[in-house]
Amino acid sequence: MTAVAAHHDHHDDHHHAPHGLKRWLFSTNHKDIGTLYLWFSFAMFMVGGFMALVIRAELMYPGMQVVDPEFFNQMTTVHGLIMVFGAVMPATVGLANWMIPLMIGAPDMALPRMNNWSFWILPFAFTILIGSVLMSAFGEGNPSAPNFGWTFYAPLSTKYGPASTDLFILSVHMMGISSIMGAINVIVTVLNMRAPGMTMMKMPLFVWAWLITAFLLVAVMPVLAGAVTMMLTDRHFGTSFFDAAGGGDPVLFQHIFWFFGHPEVYIMILPSFGIVSAIIPAFARKPLFGYASMVYATASIALLSFVVWAHHMFTVGMPLAGTLFFMYMTMLISVPTGVKVFNWVATMWRGSLTFELPMKWALAFVVLFTCGGLSGLMLALTPVDFQYHDTYFVVAHFHYVLVSGAIFSIFAAAYYWLPKWSGVMPNTFLGELHFWNSLLSVNLLFFPMHFVGLAGMPRRYADYALQFADYNWWISVGAFWFGISQLLFVAVCVLCAMKKGKKAEAAPWDGAEGLEWTVPSPAPFHTFDTPPVIK
């Protein structure tokens, strides 16, 4: 962790940097591809967020207000798919692209052409998916977009799926191929491209977290591809994987889906752990407490994620022994996760804390992610899960870990590394406004969902019983507040992209350590052509 480059020389003047559209289309440069990933994921975040606001507009008052229930179902489905596969995952891949080579002293990713391909698949995949929504909204006869929930349970998605399900299957295949290629690239880079002296146990935790995430991706994205392939053959080629009439079993779908789906949850959150483990030491001005235990905790979370999947399906009628196994395994995950939270707190203990923007977001992450973790622990208990299953309590839980967890940490990362990416400091005034508005609104948005969930409001419905009306009004107010607050982040990013702001030094955060701060800001097009020497 105390890795310092003894010297670095950058040869950006010697290289011909391509210009215009070709620079981006044919780019094999990890920084350009990282930038593309980050902007793309931000755009998807706004699109998915808009869909969330359609959902909240409908739910603001009881009864049917804005959209019809069919379109509401399409919104919940595509909102989930876009946020998971379009916003959170590509954002962390973008961070990996930008930061991993800089952090381990590599000149670029190991497989730069594949890197280009894995990004450029994504816009097409999401054009297909969003195209189905546009057809539903504006097309002749309003053919339904995917409307079965982001978990696309059979037989909703097979026997009863709309025609656009095939578009969905194609786009999920493309997203999967993109993620697998991105993950392979990270693994090869981390294993083979480290600068001399950068041993595995000297790597920043962000790199470790991403290495483990990448292994998860390689292991489970093909399983997702298998699941949608089975859907496709069930729909069109006469197989009966999930069709009870032909001897299949719809519950099998849930097993296959969640065998992918639970590791997927950690795919979205492990990079966040890495980000926060970089930021908290920087602003506590202390090395990270328990580096090795952090590495082992991350690895054990990843391993455990393969044996907990059925906690998503306690209510399908498993034998008692099965539910007990999955319940205990799930609760076991809170041990390594607790190790992480305690390590972050211990890192801050008696540190010289300052509260610049990245630190604020990171602290909000720790607190709110822990809230989401605790409601997860409640959901892990089989008997109470029967009450919480498919209610807004679940919605509150996973939005706490994904919005105020994963997405807050991505904001933290953006504020932390924007000086390195753009060469200017992010606007503090707008950033503070963005942080405080997001922090307050996200809690107004998601906290009351716990209560309506416990009181029995089911998720994924376009309407609700009258007693939930007050809470839902406040939730919708929180949603619009949170949504509008994100426009402040658009402004912050655009200002940075236009190089408007205070010029950033090579190491703008005085407590920050790591190789990325040894290169100038903005990072030149080519860095570490000569590997740095790590002490």
Partner: protein, 189 residues
């Protein structure tokens, strides 16, 4: 230059392993299908009873009385009226019992139906054994046709002691299209 080629070779080695790994995981998704079936056969995880006839030679346990309830549904657009003759029976484990299920096809065309059984609690499924069942084959009813379909079963005396009530549910599916359009596959099953 040789150093660069060396790196490229090492990269390709790792790349190859990871590609093979992801292809294997794609295969694993499909391997989960038979694995799940085997696991369900052993444990009754999904409440499915065996789809072959049992021998029926077993010692009766007269000290125990177990209630077996019957539930029927017509699923997935199936129009048949489908009902058990009795809603529940009390049986001793090992006692061979016949229950008839009545079906009526109110439609104006021939429909082929397939009943899919499911037992709750799932752990009882491997212990509910049928010597004869309409669910072993698909059933054909002409327009307006009616039938009494027999199901003969007994409970394995090894049924776990804590299980006193078993619910056997049948979902009737319309498989006309599947059978007429895809004969070979059904025969293979």
């Amino acid at each position: 230059m040789s150093e660069l080629n060396d790196l490229e070779q090492r990269n390709n080695r790792v790349l190859r392993k990871l590609v093979i790994g992801s292809v294997l995981m794609f295969g694993f998704a499909f391997a989960m299908v038979p694995l799940y079936d085997v696991l369900c056969d052993i444990t009754g995880l999904n409440g499915k009873t065996s789809d072959t006839a049992a021998s029926g030679e077993v010692q009766m346990d007269e000290d125990r009385l177990v209630t077996v309830q019957f539930v029927t549904t017509s699923s997935g657009g199936m129009v048949w009226d489908f009902n058990p003759q009795v809603r529940s029976v009390k049986v001793h484990p090992g006692e061979i019992t016949q229950v008839n299920f009545q079906v009526k096809n109110p439609a104006d065309h021939t429909i082929i139906g397939q009943a899919i059984p499911s037992v709750s609690p799932g752990l009882a499924a491997p212990h509910l054994l049928k010597t004869q069942c309409f669910c072993f084959d698909n059933q054909t009813l002409l327009a307006g046709g009616e039938a009494d379909m027999p199901m003969i079963f007994y409970l394995d005396p090894a049924l776990p002691k804590h299980i006193n009530t078993i619910t056997l549910s049948y979902a009737m599916f319309d498989v006309t299209e599947r059978v007429t359009g895809n004969k070979d596959k059904l025969a293979a099953r």
